[in-house]
Symmetry: C2
Subunit: 173 residues, 2 copies
């Protein structure tokens, strides 16, 4: 079971990226996202609406005190940072530990404590890119590509893949 | 050689995500990004600044008429869409064609023509997530993970990966 902890959300500046963080967490196999920073019910609602339509299980929560979330977590803490160890170097070790995982993903500057608390500080390459690409790549490496075959339950909508055009079917509830 | 074409940029709403699209394109092995939609010199400058600091080769351009970009492109056109064919199904075929690639990545709704022009309409799973995760995953699958070892030239800054903390070195020019 993998939980994503999004730090330092800011209502205006981060609304879209934080929503995407939730959708990426769900689509790439995590079971839960916890938002910290400014409380933003509208943003949380938009992630929940995707779960209602496209299925789960996936839960969404808000916690003001992110330090508590980390300290109370039983399992491995992975802090995503471009300054950390290259994913290719640590991925086997991370997979070998079969504990639950908490993935920390910051918005702006991540407090130093996150680096201290982490079991691993992981870099998806050591180049600047995006917290969204970092998150999906880490999940992809942990699940070895199987996350893209994940089946969701209690979905209302399902895509029928097409060479051209769009086809969505509505499932009965 | 891979070029990314970002459609429909909107100055206010998309500034951060479009910047990230440029950084993801560079970090995951593309050689060029072309922005379309609203002209946004500030956003383009911020991507160029990353290239100056962290190296290339990677070029950034703006084109008002994205249809021309696609029509004049010689090679395969890949349109990223959650409605398309699953990446696992088409990736071998895409890799087998050794032509240059143009990857189309939309912001809001992508015009129907993009689906028609495309050699392949590709879905990174058929679930909603983010154009940023879609882009990095497609590049990752095309380069088979080797993109994370890419070496950049003419960089001013370089990260020395650390178990904890941050270490950046300044390279002489």
């Amino acid at each position: 079971m993998i939980t994503v902890l999004r730090l330092g959300h800011r209502r205006v500046r981060d609304a879209r990226i934080s929503t995407h963080v939730g959708l990426v967490a769900r689509a790439f196999g995590a079971g839960k996202i916890i938002y910290s920073g400014e409380k933003d019910e509208k943003m949380i609602k938009s992630v929940e609406r995707v779960v209602e339509n496209w299925g789960g299980p996936f839960s969404v929560a808000y916690e003001k005190n992110w330090r508590n979330v980390i300290q109370e977590f039983k399992g491995d803490v992975l802090n995503l940072t471009m300054y950390g160890e290259h994913i290719d170097k640590v991925v086997f070790e991370i997979r070998r530990s079969r504990k639950d995982k908490l993935i920390i993903i910051g918005s702006q500057k991540v407090p130093k404590e996150a680096y201290e608390y982490a079991t691993w500080n992981v870099a998806i390459g050591n180049q600047p890119h995006s917290e969204l690409s970092a998150l999906c790549m880490l999940l992809d490496r942990l699940f070895e590509g199987k996350e893209l075959k994940r089946r969701f339950s209690a979905a209302r909508l399902k895509i029928m893949p097409q060479q051209r055009g769009k086809k969505v079917i509505r499932l009965s509830e």
